[in-house]
């Protein structure tokens, strides 16, 4: 990963490819690379869909190696949804293949004139940018089907659906999984719209003839990876809970805690939650001949995903994740897994973020466009998005736009990005992260729960409520660092609880690059990334007043605990004071 490819889509005479050394971004990967590059090279006041914006696609620091769990891909840009800097990451095969091809990043720049649509083919011989108007207005599944006819099954694909082509603000970028299905999405922030604005429909990554990236110290790397995998396998969350039930195992617990936002954040519990639970979902998948245990990329040993078949036993979609089951389920008053699975398939196919889309439909329900609980109605609305009707374009532009167009007061967004599946009135600490993250409301921005072992920010008394600001800060720092490694965030439980597993991770990073890596280095990296992101946002016009939750969280107590969000503004302003 010693080179960066820059593709100027707007160059005179057609797209122009320049491959150069990685230069000042050497040693970086994932979110560190996307955010530092965007912060340095993109004008913060540019229009996110204009020629000045850049779309940076970067594998993680350990992607393309024999290391386990290393296949996360980061995509960065200025977000058309939030107006902030954005890093959106996904699993799938793309990160591994791109890294083995030697690219630390592929950067799409400029914007072509005219309405030709392009595909980009990258293999060991170089990069070709090819006009392919036959892909116009195809959704992700048919796009991949068509491309497979041409490029075969031994490659990885990235693509946008019709939502990306139409530059809808909820548009995602799909990455294919090991079965070449477009099920893994860089979902948040409208990154698909930026790819659509640059008229790039698909990227085909072919690593034939390339080898795994070699570590500087292969023996130490192999040994560290073995210990890392052992640690993941023996931990109850990464070795048992996630493989058996996936992330949707959270539905029952969140509902019990009164932190499961139902009916567009009007209640903290949903009566049909057990029908949507991970336990019920896993059983249904197994009964129908699918599987409740599946990896989104080769080399994943946790395998939190699954295959969801329809009633006749035919593939319908990958296992919908907790946030998807919530956004299309309890948030919309829908208690039917088959409906949720169909909506998940449509999200993947059209190419939209499942959280943004589900929340937007719930906001539309609040506006009376359809009733809460209307299963067919929700599918009908998704078809409107697919067809690009005026209503579909409104919904596909996310919850904030939908709320404005229909005059809804209760719109659960921060910096115009929809809140995920945890009510901040019940779990106040997560509200701190929602409010202050550089990314707009995002649960994964403060997800790396291994802060205690990372020793981020010193000792915090976790049982004191005043510690929440510090906890959120530490979580955001740790997450920014892990997002840069290419590691899936779900490793965090094992590294939090098992010091030897954390050491194994440090040893993997160290032996790969031939350096000694400490917890302090990880923290320094996380802070560097967050500082660059905050700086970009400040220059883009964001102030501390944007680091707030919508007022209804402060004014409307939520049942069953009848709590409001109680963190003071001055406290929120302390999160980034380090």
């Amino acid at each position: 990963m010693d080179k960066i490819a820059r593709i100027d889509m707007g160059a005179a005479g057609g797209p122009k490819v320049t491959v150069g050394p990685v230069g000042e971004y050497a040693g970086l990967g994932g979110r560190a690379l996307t955010s530092l590059l965007i912060a340095k090279e993109v004008h913060p006041l540019c229009h996110a869909l204009g020629a000045e914006n850049k779309l940076v696609i970067a594998p993680g620091m350990l992607s393309g190696t024999t290391g386990s769990m290393t296949g996360r891909l980061s995509v960065g840009c200025k977000s058309p949804l939030t107006g902030t800097i954005k890093e959106s990451n996904a699993g799938g095969q793309a990160a591994q293949v791109l890294a083995r091809l030697g690219y630390a990043a592929v950067v799409l720049e400029g914007k072509p004139e005219g309405d030709d649509l392009y595909k980009i083919f990258i293999n060991k011989d170089g990069i070709q940018v090819i006009v392919d108007n036959s892909l116009k207005l195809l959704d992700n599944y048919p796009v991949i089907e068509k491309l497979r006819g041409e490029y075969g099954d031994k490659v990885a694909y990235m693509s946008i659906g019709t939502a990306g082509e139409r530059k809808l603000l909820a548009a995602s970028i799909a990455c294919t999984d090991p079965e070449l299905r477009p099920t893994r999405h860089c979902g948040r922030g409208g990154v698909g719209a930026v790819m659509g604005a640059k008229r790039v429909k698909a990227i085909i990554l072919d690593d034939a003839g390339m080898k795994m990236r070699p570590p500087v110290d292969p023996d130490k790397y192999r040994d560290a990876n073995r210990k890392f995998v052992e640690g993941l396998r023996k931990h109850p969350v990464t070795g048992e809970g996630l493989p058996a039930y996936g992330t949707n195992v959270l539905t029952n617990v969140l509902n019990e805690a009164g932190g499961y936002p139902a009916y567009n954040f009007k209640g903290g519990q949903f009566p049909g939650s057990e029908k949507l639970s991970g336990e019920a979902q896993a059983q249904l998948e197994i009964d129908r001949g699918g599987t409740a245990t599946h990896g989104c990329h080769r080399g994943c040993v946790i395998q939190c995903s699954g295959i969801y078949n329809d009633k006749d036993g035919h593939y319908l979609t990958k296992q919908p994740e907790y946030e998807t089951v919530w956004s299309h389920g309890g948030h919309c008053g829908i208690d039917d897994l088959d409906t949720v699975a169909m909506l998940d398939f449509m999200d993947d196919n059209i190419g939209v973020d499942t959280i943004e889309m589900g929340v937007a439909i719930g906001v539309a329900m609040d506006a009376g466009i359809i009733e809460f609980g209307d299963r067919e109605g929700a599918i009908r609305l998704m078809k409107e998005v697919q067809q690009g009707t005026p209503l579909g374009r409104v919904l596909g532009s996310g919850a904030a736009v939908t709320g404005k167009v229909f005059g809804v007061e209760r719109v659960p967004v921060v910096k115009d990005q929809a809140l995920p599946a945890y009510d901040p009135r019940a779990i106040q600490g997560i509200g701190v992260t929602y409010a202050t993250t550089t990314q707009g409301a995002d649960h994964t921005a403060g997800y790396a729960i291994a802060t205690n072992i990372l020793k981020v920010g010193g000792d915090v008394d976790p049982l004191k409520t005043e510690g929440q600001i510090e906890l959120s800060r530490n979580l955001q720092i740790a997450t920014a660092a892990i997002d840069s490694t290419g590691m899936c965030l779900f490793i965090a439980f094992a590294i939090m609880d098992q010091p030897e597993t954390f050491q194994a991770l440090l040893d993997m990073l160290g032996s790969f690059h031939g350096i000694t890596m400490t917890g302090d280095d990880v923290v320094a990296l996380g802070k560097k990334v967050l500082s660059a992101e905050r700086d970009f946002n400040t220059r883009a016009g964001f102030t501390r007043h944007h680091d707030r939750l919508p007022r209804f969280f402060y004014n409307e107590p939520i049942a069953p605990h009848n709590q409001t969000f109680m963190m003071k503004d001055e406290e929120l302003d302390e999160v980034f004071n380090w």
């Binding site: 969350v237 048992e240 805690a257």
Partner: protein, 215 residues
């Protein structure tokens, strides 16, 4: 464990089923079932002394506990009272999973929904509590609870039996209602429970005839 609801007659249904079918009863355990226990004790005493669950298992495996929807940090301090709703779960993924964990590093993040013991004494003697089991605890603790018996709503049970396929009934070795054999049709149609509120359901797997049960 006390096996009958205090001062109240309950219809008792005992099934001996194919072990492969035990999982179909887990939704009852997730939705909430009643058990009759001695109240006034701590949650740890309830789990270890009354239910006979190994202390190490309680500490290492049951990492997430809610009492009446509030997260529990100290199993020794929280008192079980008549009418308590007690929910048990194994470790959960993600930040919120870590936040909900008993005595965990991120407990402060859900401070407003943390159970705080009031100091009021719980009733002593028998009481009825509602329990829920989630995720990994379903296959690990569920069969024992089902074997001893759980109180479930008659309407839910009737609905459940109406949906069972013929393979389920073929795997049943014994169906007893108040100790007397009952035809599957009476269970499928729900008439066996007509007019009942709660039914005391116990489920044994026929494989267990030969193998000793856990605990």
């Amino acid at each position: 464990m006390v096996t009958e609801k205090r001062g109240e007659y309950l219809l008792r249904l005992s099934l001996t089923i194919d072990p492969a079918e035990i999982g179909v009863f887990y939704p009852f355990l997730m939705q909430g079932f009643q058990v009759v226990v001695r109240v006034g004790c701590s949650i740890r005493e309830l789990l270890c002394d009354q239910f006979g669950i190994d202390n190490e298992y309680v500490l290492g495996r049951i990492t997430t506990v809610f009492q009446n929807g509030k997260a529990i940090d100290d199993l020794d301090a929280a008192i079980v009272r008549d009418g308590t709703r007690l929910t048990l779960s194994a470790a959960m993924p993600g930040l919120v999973g870590a936040t909900m964990r008993r005595g965990g590093f991120y407990a402060a993040m859900r401070g407003s929904i943390t159970h705080k013991e009031t100091g009021e004494s719980g009733l002593s003697g028998g009481g009825t509590i509602t329990m829920k089991l989630f995720n990994l605890l379903l296959p690990e603790l569920g069969p024992d609870f089902l074997k001893v018996g759980i109180g479930v709503a008659a309407a839910d049970l009737a609905d459940f039996f109406a949906k069972r396929p013929s393979t389920f009934w073929r795997g049943c070795r014994q169906l007893l209602l108040d100790g007397k054999p009952v035809e599957p049709e009476r269970l499928m149609g729900g008439e066996a429970f007509f007019g009942e509120g709660t039914v005391w359901l116990s489920v044994t797997c026929w494989k267990e005839d030969k193998e000793p049960a856990r605990n």
